[in-house]
Amino acid sequence: MSKSSKPTSEDILAQANTLRWDLGREFHQRLVETVYGEAARLADRAVTRPEKKPRFDFDRTIDRIVTSRIFGFPIMFLLFALVFWLTIAGANVPSRWLSILLLEKVYPLLHAAATGIGFPWWLTGLLVDGIYLATAWVVSVMLPPMAIFFPLFTLLEDFGYLPRVAFNLDNLFKRSGAHGKQALSMMMGFGCNAAGMVATRIIDSPRERLIAMITNNFALCNGRWPTQILIATIFIGALVPPHLAGLISASAVLGIAMLGVLLTFVVSWALSRTVLRGEVSTFSLELPPYRPPRILQTIYTSIVDRTIYVLWRAVVFAVPAGAVIWLVANIDIGSMSIAEHVIEFLDPFGLLIGLNGVILLAYVIAIPANEIVIPTVLMLTVLATGMSGVGQGAGVMFETGTGDTLAILQAGGWTLLMAVNLMLFSLVHNPCSTTIYTMYKETGSRKWTALAALLPLGMGFVLVFLVAQVWRLIEALI
């Protein structure tokens, strides 16, 4: 009797199976909601909050101003214009000091020292002309702007203003399927794309974060501004009377930066509707209370966490690149160096898309940092054209005045089309290796890292190819 009435495990399971249908469809949701609700109830009962009414009103007043319909956007533009102006104006002097110190003082000393110890010429070349020079170049161009931009940006962040920027701009980003906080990682990208990659950590929605990472490269970084300014000055500024030259070349550079912002939106839109459409997407934006910025702490952390971190990664990549740059220019196969063979091989394709073999090779070997693209281009041009009396020898990167640069590039067969295409390609090509590596560390995904590297590269080739064809068509017609 007792044995037969005792249910077996099968009976219990069977009964559970029938009963689960009676729970109702929202059973799970209700259960979770109850757990959350109970947690909130316990917290409300146990936690007392000090009355903070005055600060609360102060916050509300600032919020009313910085997010108002009239002042919201002008305040934002003024603040960012100020940050960029301070960065560009402030970085000039220390950049020159560093370059005098590292390139004009230490470099010859090292050269003399190496020769003095009795290093063979190739070892001196590899270590001093290749590795040391590339590293010194990256440091002197990269360090000052970053050491100014990052603390300023971090101060705004610490004060609590940046989340309000995301709040103001979210609608714009929403239309392209992105998150308002992407405005911040994009701004950070203008300083350095690798730092921009790290900055996307603030976006907690997986889809929007990937969008922000893949499109960060379209924010014209600090390493590419000098390239743009140089090429715009010597080629585009030269088209107009001298008193207009400054204005026109500055507009050309600004136009490129704006094109980058436009591409950010277009590519974000396309990504969110194609490859990323299945990724999970959520939105929430917390607007923390304002607080007085902790200036010293901010400067310390932004220099250690952002500046030194990015710089270290760039140096790690610059060392092997410096070696490669020197080696390809100095190892001969037959009568020519490897660099000349590669340039000759790449030239037809380069010319087809309105660039040339030198530029393509420079973009391959200068992948660690966009800062060394122009020095590499100049060195390779001198090498390929066999000019004498300029530059410092095979494999030694250099920079020179605008007049000499123009003379070298014209000897290398440069045209206005090539200059325009170089500016476009500098904006739309693969991110530097530091950025690619940072993206891989952040996502842990080869797939998305490859997409972030190859998508802009492919787009860049298509863009310069189309520009070249249209340009030539118009040239042929007139």
Partner: protein, 353 residues
Amino acid sequence: MTGGWITSFILAGAVVGLGIIVFYLRKLWLRRRRRSFRVMGEDVLKQIYNATACEREVSLDSVSDKLRIPPKRAQLLLEILHEQGLLRIEADRLRLTPSGERYALHIIRAHRLWEHYLAEETGFPEHEWHGRAEKREHFLAPEDTQALSAKLGHPTHDPHGDPIPSHDGELFDVRGQPLSSLPEGQLARIVHIEDEPECVYSRLIEDGLYPGMEIQMLEVDSSGVRFMAEGVEHRLLPLPAANVSVIGQDEAMDEGLLGESLSILKPGRRGEVLGLSPRLRGAERRRIMDLGVLPGTEVVAEMVSPSGDPTAYRIRGALIALRKEQANLIRIRVLDRDSVEQEPLSARASMGS
């Protein structure tokens, strides 16, 4: 130079041509794969199962119509299924054998689980779930569906309100009544929204209807139905209304679902959260709950972005911006007391008198 650009045009043409060829070949290959016999056979089993449940008959013609293949191929397909012991052909009527029924239930289980997965764990838009599950259902083995079910916490219903058959092929079906058969004034709950055809379904989704939604019928006539749900009046034509099934109930179970949406709250006004709409799913739902938006929580609208969206709300002492689409899915009761308190004293005195 002229030679240069002629060459480049030829090259560009070649690239475009190659692209077109590759694209076309891919399309052909995809069509072939989609049309493979196994997949078609599984679709036939599903078709017969559904028809039998609705007491409709399936003939050779309806099979060839549904799969869009010539009758000859449909005939061959049915013969193969017959040989596999999944199908009986009884004088023009098609019936599933017990093993055929089990097979069909497995496909339905895979389909509904996958829809549940898409709804909870991915960001695909609602109108795409059915189409994607139609393809995926053929590539999930019973072990896969079991693992998926466990991962999702063994859900009982798909996002359209259909029950998911259990691993042993058990299916508990609540048959609702068509929306248009509901008497005026009656309270009811939507239990099912038919996801085919897609154009009708996406219209219903756009209207904001979902299974579990509570409604109150206002008017039924030959031109359609009119009903209240979540504080909004809805109108449906007879055809879409026929695709919605409901179960009548005596009293509103969840007053929260009859409140108003957070997005109507103007800056400076207060509200009390009544609940979250079931359409707020997966990661988004968890995020909102993490922020402390729970039944009973008080919410104050603080400010609207200068670009119109999002709006910032004060929730449990924190200022949190939510987009309009999210605020639409949070049901609240507007608290008017606050606005009274903010009015000058004289106004309050006059109200008291």
